[in-house]
């Protein structure tokens, strides 16, 4: 029996889809079978990040409304052999999902028998559809950026998850900028953890490569030379229960210094 993990946030645009895709890719690269399900109906983009949009014939709504079998709607990733996608519908609006919630639960249950991990890329926590997604999840990953408003909204969502009885929740701190934290212009990890008080799964630095990879339809987690790619690799291993050290602030500073020295020399 696999695990269903919902990836959510308080605010939109903080990196849920990026995290879902790269965590899925990371776990699959480590040998797990992973199904990524896009539950952000109407705002589908998991297929684009994976470069699979041309292969989508059926989506989750077609399955729920009985137009196809679940196996017909699952698309295999081009590069990672044990990674699969169940796309969201673009046409239906989100309210439809609420009506079909029981059917959705059955689908998730079936998928958990088939895959090691079922990852739900969910809408932001105050939106409809979040409830549907989190109803059937065993664990939750809350994504936030180190901004006061995003953290406040993340806190609210954690409260909602706790009220639903989801006790296993982890934090991914995205778009972290070490230089800005150092200059005191950004909340640091400690500040964020002090408020949210949940387990930190990982910190993903701000990295322009994320956008480059997304545009190519490739997952940055497969790249060993990007900072964000390495961060997602660590996050995947931690989710599997491995103890992976957090690279310290000092190291990152060291890296920055090296780059600066390099530029000065060159």
């Amino acid at each position: 029996m696999g695990k269903c993990i919902v990836v959510t946030s308080g605010k939109g645009g903080v990196g849920k889809t990026t995290t879902s895709a790269n965590l899925g890719g990371g776990l699959a690269s480590l040998g797990k079978s992973v199904l990524l399900a896009d539950v952000d109906i109407g705002l589908r983009n998991l297929d684009i990040i994976l470069g699979l949009e041309k292969r989508i014939v059926y989506d989750v709504m077609d399955v729920m409304e009985g137009r196809c079998k679940i196996q017909q709607a699952i698309v295999k990733d081009k590069r990672i052999s044990s990674l699969y996608l169940l796309a969201a519908s673009q046409i239906h609006d989100k309210s439809d999902l609420a009506e079909l919630i029981d059917r959705f639960g059955e689908i998730i249950k079936g998928l958990k028998n088939q895959f090691d991990y079922v990852i739900l890329d969910s809408p932001a926590g105050i939106e409809q559809g979040f409830m549907a997604a989190s109803n059937f999840a065993d664990e939750a990953i809350v994504v936030t950026t180190p901004e006061v408003t995003a953290v406040r909204d993340a806190d609210r969502v954690i409260g909602l998850l706790e009220a639903k009885g989801i006790k296993d929740h982890y934090l991914v701190l995205n778009r972290y900028r070490y230089a800005m934290v150092k200059s005191g212009n950004m909340l640091d990890v400690e500040d964020v953890l002090h408020i949210l008080g949940i387990q930190l799964l990982g910190i993903v630095p701000e990295d322009p490569e994320i956008i480059t990879f997304a545009n190519k339809g490739e997952l940055i987690v497969t790249s060993d030379i990007t900072n964000a790619g390495k961060a997602f690799q660590r996050i995947s291993r931690r989710l599997m229960g491995e103890k992976v050290d957090f690279p310290s602030f000092e190291e990152e500073k060291g890296l920055l210094k090296k780059i600066k020295d390099f530029l000065r020399l060159g």
Partner: protein
Amino acid sequence: MDKNRRFRLVGSKGALRLVIEQRSSLSDIINYVKIFFESNKRFFEGTKVVFEIQPLCDLETSFIEQLKLKLAKFEEIESFKFEDLDLTDKGVKNVESIDDKICFDKMPTKYIYKSLRSGQKVDFKGNVIILGDVNPGSKISAGGSVIVLGSLKGVVQAGILDASSIVFALDFDPVQLQIGGFFELSTDDSKDLNDNVVAYYKDNKINIESWKGRKFLIGE
């Protein structure tokens, strides 16, 4: 609530006391009470309070009677108390110091074994003890004292029914604080006072002090 107002509502030993310091119009007073009940709707839901009227200026009996008639329309008010109030105390007994006995027994106490997160609210007609944090965006409304065994970064309204209540936090940084109808907005100059802080009402203002070295006697 500013200090110069002519009348105010103060929590007093489980009752609500309307202290009228200077003569004011009936409609002003009624309007003030109305806003008070409206902004504390959840707190008063399903309960009624004893309402005391305490004039600190000369008011005719007819004025008081008219006031009572109008106030009687509020469903939150159970009964009035007027004649046998101790007029020597100015509405609230000053807590001379925190070493004074603070009587928790006057009201029931609710324990909360988790942190309050953004958007969550607690309304309780007694004392509230939180074994966790009170995060930004959350709010506590308590009839009595509020003790936070964690970080206090939300909004606290304590002593709604007893202005001699206290607010204590291990890490004290509320967005907004109110005790018994008196406001204290969080200010940056209280920033250096963070650990083990107690707040209480005295001399028409909220005092915020370090807890260090204090004795805290509960009950008898």
